[in-house]
Amino acid sequence: MTTYSHVEPVGHGEHHGPPEPHYSSRILPATLGMYLFIASEIMLFGSFFTAYFFVRIVNGVAWPTPPYHLPVFVATVNTFILMTSSATMHWATTSIKRGNVWGMRAGLLLTFLMGLAFLIAQLYEYLRVGFNTSDGAFPTIFFCLTGLHSCHVFVGLAILAFMTIRAFRGHFSAEHHHGVEIGGIYWHFVDVMWIVVFTTVYVL
């Protein structure tokens, strides 16, 4: 339902300042932007997962191809780190909604540190995994999928860094915390993608 309590007919009554912005569309620009972003991400990850499907299912390439082994233990620990970081991100957002500024700061800082730990562990895993992209289809897909996700984590860390700095500078309050909300959505999205990558690449 649309509210009309603020409708002031043109040419009647007094009106100060420019009119409210009006978007003659079925969808708000912010929502449309989010949909376009999700669609682009689905296509991006989808292309890599399609390659994974053809390599592993259609062509029957052994996964992992002997004599290589996937570092499942490190990836599992990384998964727990990333899932915990989502919990702290949610804690940060919940805190600032209640006006708890220090809760938000602690939550953001912990999220950033855990994201950084994930990325460092991932890079360390790359160094000691024992294969490279030139060693066949399996390593190529492995690095492409996990590397694409790591790029998203890196972007998320950059966003988190800005959010944390702004949080410590007092830019957010119970009334104004849109920056924390948007960053939180992105971080959870990155974690959702990791669940999919972890399940398909490491576990199944």
Partner: protein
């Protein structure tokens, strides 16, 4: 359908749902590969069903109580005339705005190929403008409900009259909290 990334809280909840789904798929796949595939299909279908079932925030809210901004003694009427309408009977003495929505089909809307429909609406608007001296006639959005919402943002109507069929009447009644009747 609800956007699972609408807010941080909903994205966090969505993450929990994805974790549960992934755990079920892994458990199924460890028992049998095809069971894992079946669980994956079911989990995906369940996820889509859940997102479609979830109510959109605010959709169930009650209609707001309206206070008319029209000065005493004046009556403002918004008339919705779909393309092809040749004439409408507007109330005498009323301030009238006629909106002709450039009604487009689903594919046309999705592809943005609405130029032809807009031309039809402009032709209808020209005809109505010539036959309704004193009334303003405008072309609206391709969705009749949206065209009415657009018009009401700049024209504080007291009522909406629809020069179309019952389906169009229902569409507009669902979108606005004003008296809506058929011409």
């Amino acid at each position: 359908m609800r956007n699972p990334l609408r807010s941080e809280a909903e994205a966090y909840r969505f993450l929990g749902v994805v974790i549960v789904g992934a755990a079920l798929i892994i458990a199924g796949a460890f028992i049998n590969t095809w069971l894992g595939v079946a669980v994956a299909v079911l989990a995906f279908a369940g996820l889509v069903w859940w997102l479609r079932k979830e109510p959109v925030p605010g959709a169930a809210d009650h209609a707001p109580v309206l206070a008319s901004s029209t000065p005493p003694g004046m009556r403002r009427v918004l008339v919705v005339a779909p393309p092809g309408t040749e004439s409408v009977a507007v109330p005498e003495g009323a301030d009238v705005l006629v909106v002709v929505p450039a009604v487009a089909g689903g594919v046309e809307t999705l592809t943005g190929s609405v130029d032809g429909r807009r031309a039809d609406a402009e032709a209808t608007a020209a005809v109505l403008e010539a036959r309704l001296p004193g009334a303003r006639v405008e072309v609206g959005a391709d969705d009749p409900g949206l065209a009415v919402e657009d018009a009401l943002r700049v024209f504080g109507a007291d009522e909406v009259l629809v020069a179309g069929d019952a389906e169009l009447l229902g569409v507009i009644r669902d979108r606005v909290a004003l008296p809506v009747s058929q011409l």
